[in-house]
């Protein structure tokens, strides 16, 4: 008996050790980004990236904030796209999912198949790209950052999974009281489905906020560049960093530009706030992921 207890405590120590190491491995790189952004540029080229800065400096942030136009523009674009996109997507998705969830409606099976089929078959990037650029002409507008993601089949099925739990009796009794389908949906179904709406809405917001794909394909104007695309462009070529910082009316001595630290400072400014927001919604997230994986 004694031997067993010892053995168990040793395994659990090993378990804690392994998970702690991996947890640190998940967190420390993020701390690195923050501390590099707060390091003096010269000490960086002397000593390399350090977890604790050899010489602390806020110069990179002063530099970025001296002409914050690009950062602010990109924040504006991303916030606008995320807000409009999430609301529109949530509304259209839940309406479609509700119809699909109504087993008493004979057409709902066909509609579900129409949605499902797009998950397993598409004709690739080129036809889709040509249609959007050559026929809809929405490239280089805010629309191209919003419309293609309004219906995501996976989200539709997630929503359907939630809505299918609503008892049909509720709908029938509303019908007897003379409520139309639209009225039932907006006045009864929506109010009782708030947790489901929160979960799916979170997925929509997350998707719009973190998206670089649509921007990379369709946006060439700096004034419409969303955050993630801005970050990519800064990483990809350093002249983009100077051009995005020079767009203010203050002229910048490029030779004095703190390349490495300013880059990391931009990364902190662009990615930081979300890192504090999303963990608060972790509970919804996990529920959505587990429900989605089982039902979807």
């Amino acid at each position: 008996m004694r031997g067993k207890i010892n053995r168990i405590s040793i395994t659990s120590i090993v378990f804690h050790l392994v998970l702690s190491i991996f947890s640190l491995f998940c967190i420390i790189p993020i701390i690195y980004i923050v501390s590099i952004s707060l390091t003096d540029e010269n000490s960086l080229s002397l000593y390399g990236y350090k977890l604790v800065p050899k010489l602390v400096s806020t110069y990179a942030y002063q530099f970025v904030f001296a002409s914050p136009k690009q950062v602010l523009t990109s924040y504006g674009v991303t916030i606008l796209v995320t807000a409009i996109g999430s609301i529109l997507s949530l509304l259209v998705t839940s309406m479609l999912a509700y119809t699909m969830s109504r087993r008493d409606f004979k057409l709902s099976k066909l509609i579900s198949f129409v949605v499902f089929f797009t998950m397993i078959f598409n004709t690739g990037l080129v036809p889709w790209y040509i249609l959007i650029v050559r026929y809809y002409h929405i490239n280089n507008t805010l629309l191209c950052l919003i419309l293609p993601y309004v219906i995501v089949p996976w989200n539709v099925f997630l929503m359907k999974g939630f809505l299918a739990d609503i008892p049909l009796a509720l709908v029938e009794s509303a019908k007897i009281d003379g409520s139309s389908e639209l009225n039932t949906f907006f006045k009864i179904i929506i109010p009782i489905s708030k947790p489901a709406l929160a979960t799916v809405g979170l997925f929509c917001a997350f998707m719009y906020w973190n998206d670089w794909w649509l921007g990379m394909l369709f946006i060439e104007k700096q004034s419409l560049t969303p955050l993630q695309l801005m970050l990519y462009s800064i990483m990809n070529n350093i002249t983009y960093l100077s051009s995005s910082l020079q767009s203010g009316n203050i002229s910048i001595d490029v030779s004095k530009m703190p390349n490495e630290t300013a880059r990391m400072a931009m990364c902190v400014l662009a990615a930081g706030p979300m890192l504090f927001v999303f963990p608060f919604f972790q509970k919804f997230f996990i529920r959505g992921l587990t429900v989605g994986a089982v039902k979807g």
Partner: protein
């Protein structure tokens, strides 16, 4: 005929429901179904002056041209190898983590879960900054280590041989938390009386893992692996594009079908060839999904997608 009438009658009776579905269906039409007309693009020599429909047919020329260069073969190989490595690595690591978490108190689980889940919230663009901190040839952490131990610094972004491993690590870093939580949730769903009974019988932890946890998780493991195999022709574009910083020297191991198609679309005026690559990917992918689903249906009908 009678059935058709009934369907129409039912639809008219429930026109409110159809009305609710219409906006969503219109979006699907605009962004998913109309592009399917483009299935003819790879078989044409596209001339926008004439329009797509009236452009000349060229048969399979675009496909011949596509396969005449080795690039698409290389991209296909890379896609499959990387995906297989991801599937195996994720399965082993996430299962192990889930089993470890299962052994812990709720409080400890919460702490680890939060930490493991943090990378999942980051986009590949942000993760490319993190990888850069490790791999930057001048200031990067890895080269600092190598120099400290007297080794030569490595020019990471131009040496392909380490990249299969780097990509697996990056993929694990972002996704292990997600899969761990899926497996952990499934473990929590196992009837606790199994574990209690085996405790009474004096089973060790490892016997319990081997004889209870893993067999009862087998359906979920199979489902997730089959889903991943069904998508083995597709890859996580951001991982393969941003993490290697689209470095040409690394293409021998990092170029996958998705990045190949994207690059051709951006740099190559020959849309026919690019469209051929895209259709090749989705057609093979589609067949794979059908086959995988057939196999699933035979093994365990409950898990089949359709």
């Amino acid at each position: 005929m009678f059935k058709k009438n009934e369907l129409i009658k039912d639809t008219i009776k429930n026109k409110g429901l159809l009305l609710l579905a219409i906006p969503g269906l219109l979006f699907l039409l605009a962004f998913n179904y109309l592009p399917m007309v483009g299935i003819i693009i790879p078989f044409k020599s596209i001339d926008f002056a004439k329009g797509i429909i009236r452009s000349d047919w060229v048969g399979f020329n675009n496909f011949k041209f596509l396969f005449s260069s080795g690039d698409i073969i290389r991209a296909t190989t890379n896609t499959i190898i990387s995906n297989l490595l991801f599937i195996i690595a994720t399965l082993i690591i996430s299962m192990a983590f889930a089993i470890m978490l299962f052994d812990m108190s709720r409080k400890a689980v919460k702490v680890y879960q939060t930490a493991l889940f943090v990378p999942y919230f980051l986009s590949w663009v942000v993760i490319s900054y993190i990888v850069y901190i490790f791999l930057n040839p001048d200031m990067g952490i890895l080269n600092q280590f190598l120099k400290a131990f007297g080794s030569e610094a490595i020019n990471w972004y131009s040496e392909p041989k380490h990249w299969r491993f780097i990509l697996v690590i990056a993929s694990l870093w972002k996704n292990a938390g997600y899969y761990t939580i899926l497996y952990y949730t499934a473990l929590m769903g196992i009837d606790s009386s199994y574990f209690e009974a085996s405790d009474i019988d004096g089973a060790t932890k490892f016997q319990q893992i081997k004889s209870i946890s893993i067999p009862l998780l087998a359906p979920l493991i199979m489902l997730l692996v089959l889903l991943q195999i069904g998508r083995i022709f597709f890859s996580d574009f951001g991982l393969f594009y941003f993490i290697p910083k689209d470095s040409g020297a690394l293409y021998p191991v990092t170029d996958v079908i998705d990045t190949f198609v994207f690059r051709s679309l951006k740099n190559n005026p020959d849309l026919g060839m690019t469209a051929a690559a895209g259709l090749y990917q989705t057609a093979v992918g589609f067949i794979l999904v059908i086959v995988v689903n057939k196999i699933t249906k035979k093994l365990n009908p409950d898990l089949a997608m359709f």
